[in-house]
Amino acid sequence: MTATLDTDTTLPLAGALNRALADALEEDERVLIFGEDVGTLGGVFRVTDGLAARFGDARVFDTPLAESGIVGTAIGMAMNGLRPVVEMQFDAFAYPAFEQITSHLAKLRNRTKGNVELPVVIRVPYGGGIGGVEHHCDSSEVYYTHTAGLRVVTPATPDDAYALLRDAIDSPDPVIFLEPKRRYWEKGTVDLQRRSPGLDKAVVRREGSDVTLISYGGALGTTLEAAEAAEEDGYHAEVIDLRSLAPFDLETVSASVRRTGRAVVVHEASRFCGYGAEVAAQLSESCFHYLEAPVLRVGGLDIPYPAPNLEQHHLPSVDRILDAIERLQWDDAAPLDGEK
């Protein structure tokens, strides 16, 4: 009850999400949570642990096993003034809801010239790195970011998990909230006052002058590690955590790249038509005369997500990021004229 009076607390990322849900339920009676196993069990990752007991099963409850049903009814509830926060149990199990997400959730506001507002949050544990079998490890962000009308965000730290989820629930727009499941158990300080930069801002997680590393979600931790390792090789890498994938905070990112002249985008999803393509395309355009080398992308391989014992070959590693940094034409290219 006095939850929101605290300021700082240390929590794992999953715990921060749990706290965000609890605080939202507490503060706004229109918020409700439903999905598969989110009630009594508290979710397969325990993100909703204890919420049904605390808030009752009218506000936190299990549904029949049907993802289109979950999203479709969430849309109806939002039309009727509620603020549903629903869970898709794993990334690939959101696909049955694709039509409801794409053709309705994303479009109803526009369809009705703003008369119908859909403040729905779809939580999707996503990505690999936890030894999950197939269909449990997809990085599905582009399916959503390419769909106008959706906001797509993904936290990389417990603090952001709390802030972004609170902001997502408060947002009048539908939000696809991607939770990097490999980071669920990582702990960090959480600011319960939500002095967050807001739902659509990227943040610089590490300052540097030689190269800008751009990442998000599960890959951010690896990117930060790579930045530390690069320091030993003499490269001062700046690291940006995008947080919001749609919209994309070009301003923050291009300001950095214009300073450093070099950029690498890092994500887990397959590279082909992956999110990195958009980042690279926008930076190549907006920073053309500042770039000393092409924007490189370190992504997953262009293959279906591998079985657990092979996933390490798929996922971006510190070595691959370092290798990309090495390939940024440090010697051969005379600096471009700084025109423009």
């Binding site: 289109s68 479709g72 009814t73 109806g76 119908v116």
Partner: protein, 366 residues
């Protein structure tokens, strides 16, 4: 068994033959399961069907004049469209499809706003909260889930609102219909599912759509009471929908209704039904016409005479004239609207694109 005690299956099953109150020739057929609507309701049903049919003809005419891009006619389905709507209370909600413009108009939405979609000016031309009508839904069966969610939310909030969702025989094959029926039954949501079985999904006849004894026989598989009704009998449709609304309001949960009817016209004006069905079949159904059937009954009952008929026709004609006139006015569309409602606030990228488009437009005009 792991399950809680269950209601006997027979409770959920529909009748073998469709329920009805007025035979095709206008004679009353008493049915112990249904009561005939009051006279004033019957007259309103008749008025509504006459106006609805006139609206429908007018809309079809507008496609020929190029004023509508496309129009899916509901001719022949007036009993379902109007019977259902008049059984709703003001606070109830309608979740219609592309086929149900007539129902949306009957619910009180300005027909010009209704036709905004088919005229190609915007996706939904009316404010859903004004007459409690969701946007007409094109992706089949998806609206069933919206209705269930909406109804469940009403119940959660303690509001006495029933959601009526319309769908076709074809739409019952989609996974979403299944999920909606199931969620509704498990949640005991105040929803009424009205399947207008008009025999075709575009060109695909019912026998390629299902092998079931009837579509209403799906209800028992969800634990939902189901009703099979003559969909060309406005009195019967009204009566069964009213019963279903009452059940929902009483906290007894959802009802599945299958109304047997027929699509007299092609799927839309762009379709050519002669490619896939015989004229004989159409003729056959014309003998079961919902409008003349009720007319006969009302006339026999002395509730309708030439004068009332003339009044009714005149009003329908007036409405059609007003619609025609207003649809003939060219609309001015503002391209800036394209960016305004994608999000609550346009993103930086959208603002830029809006500016670029504005510049283009200015250039073009210069």
């Amino acid at each position: 068994m792991t399950t809680t005690e269950r209601t006997a299956a027979s409770y959920f099953l529909p009748s073998d033959e469709p329920l009805g109150l007025v035979a095709p020739d206008g004679t009353p057929v008493p049915d112990p399961a249904l009561s005939m609507p009051a006279d004033d309701v019957l007259l309103r049903l008749y008025r509504g069907m006459v106006s609805g049919r006139r609206f429908d003809t007018q809309a079809t005419a507008l496609t020929k004049q190029g004023r509508l891009a496309v129009y899916p006619s509901a001719r022949g389905q007036e009993a379902g469209e109007i019977g259902a709507i008049l059984a709703l209370r003001p606070q109830d909600w309608l979740f219609p499809t592309y086929r149900d413009s007539m129902a949306v108009v009957a619910r009180g939405v300005d027909p010009v706003e209704v036709l905004t979609l088919l005229r190609g000016d915007w996706h939904c031309g009316y404010d859903p909260y004004r007459a409690n009508v969701a946007p007409q839904c094109t992706p089949l069966a998806t609206n069933t889930l919206h209705a269930v969610g909406f109804a469940h939310a009403a119940r959660t909030k303690g509001e006495d609102t029933v959601a009526l969702v319309l769908l076709g025989d074809g739409a019952t094959s989609e996974g979403d219909t299944h999920e909606a029926l199931n969620f509704a039954a498990v949640w005991k949501a105040p929803v009424v599912f009205l399947v207008q079985n008009n025999g075709y999904a575009i060109s695909v006849p019912l026998e390629k759509q299902t092998a079931a004894p009837s579509l209403a026989h799906k209800g028992v598989g969800y634990g939902m009471p189901s009703v099979l009704v003559d969909g060309n009998d406005a009195a019967a449709v009204h009566a069964v929908v009213e019963q279903a609304v009452a059940r929902a309001t009483a906290g007894e949960g959802p009802t599945l209704i299958e109304a047997l009817t027929y699509r007299i016209e092609s799927h839309t004006n762009a379709d050519d039904a002669t490619r896939y069905r015989d004229r004989d079949e159409v003729e056959q159904w014309l003998t079961r016409d919902p409008v003349s059937r009720l007319k006969q009954y009302l006339t026999d009952r002395g509730l309708l005479d030439d004068q009332v008929q003339q009044e009714i026709d005149a009003r329908a004609e007036e409405e059609a004239a007003s619609l025609r006139e207003r649809m003939n006015v060219d609309t001015e569309l503002d391209p800036a609207d394209l960016f305004k409602h994608v999000y609550a606030e346009p993103t930086a990228a959208l603002k830029q694109q809006a500016a670029e488009l504005a510049a283009e437009t200015t250039q073009d005009q210069a």
